[in-house]
């Protein structure tokens, strides 16, 4: 058994060395400018994650959604004996949330929509939207916010976003059309999905302990 493991390990090292050594010809890598031009983007990273490596991004989003479902179901199984203490209202936080919410949401939309032209994209936009929700949760209390934004609708929106991303990528891969419109749509959907996932984590962890 030990000898077998040693042989397997040595074989792995040999394979690695063979791959690095340059015995096999390397595939020609197109330049970043070519990739960006082919996908109608200026941000080469966006063209890669939403174009060349679309499957990778797709399954990354699926892994993200699956773990969010895991968090949701896992924490739902726990029963808490003590009722949660109500959150104290602070006028300072209420006012700053009122003032900051609009600019944060607008900036998140800007980052999502212009993600193929400059720094940005769906994931940072989703994180920004999640931050806006966190600010609201700090100001209002998680349970009140959850009742106000109607959580079941939000869950359906999350599943809808996943289905829409799948449909969009499927269409993109089957039809083979490339353009900035697809990148913008994919970025917006990714932002929605990431923001709802962040909200799910925030809400479940906060309502499990009554903090925030």
């Amino acid at each position: 058994m030990k000898a077998l493991a040693a042989v397997a390990l040595l074989g792995l090292v040999a394979l690695l060395a063979l791959g690095v050594s340059g015995v096999f010809p390397r595939p020609a890598v197109p330049s970043g400018e070519d990739i960006a031009a082919a996908w109608g983007a200026e941000n080469v990273v966006a063209a890669i994650i939403l174009g060349v490596r679309l499957w990778d991004t797709l399954f990354e989003i699926l892994v993200y959604a699956m773990t969010m479902v895991g968090v949701k179901l896992g924490l739902r199984l726990l029963r808490w004996e003590r009722p949660l203490p109500p959150v104290a209202e602070t006028p300072l936080l209420r006012r700053s949330a009122d003032l900051l919410l609009g600019p944060i949401v607008v900036f998140a939309l800007y980052v999502a929509v212009s993600g193929h032209l400059g720094p940005g994209g769906g994931f940072p936009a989703g994180a920004l939207l999640g931050t806006a929700l966190l600010l609201l949760a700090l100001a209002k209390g998680v349970e009140r916010l959850s009742a106000e934004i109607h959580e079941p609708t939000l869950e359906w929106a999350e599943y809808g976003a996943i289905v829409a991303i799948l449909a969009l990528t499927g269409a993109l891969l089957l039809v083979g059309r490339r353009g900035s419109a697809h990148l913008i749509a994919a970025n917006l959907l990714i932002a929605l999905e990431v923001a709802i996932g962040a909200w799910v984590v925030l809400h479940r962890f906060a309502s499990s302990r009554g903090e925030v």
Binding site: G32, A36, A37, D56, E60, T67, G70, V71, G74, L78
Partner: protein, 119 residues
Amino acid sequence: MEGLAAVALAIALVGIGFWTLIVRRNLIWKLLGLNVAAGGAILFLVALAHRPGARPPIVGLGPGPSADPLPHALVLTAIVIDFATLALALVYVVFLTEHRHTQDVRRLERDEERGWPQP
């Protein structure tokens, strides 16, 4: 030179992370160590993308070589998956703490050998 410094910092971060992961007995500290090690790996990938005098990989930012965009795309995946798995792992730690009333790995193993204390 900046690339080398970043690689050194990345190796240091991974070392600190794995040290915490192995030595600390608290599960939450272990998760934190794992996250720091993941941060080191992410920094390593970003340092790999560095080229001397490079500009960001965006078309039209001027002449000169651009940084390698592929590691940046990989890093995006790594960050998101890192966050997601950390959240899921914390859920398991919450579960364990609720049911076994400890986060100490050694105590958990000892209880596993002796049989769990009945509540």
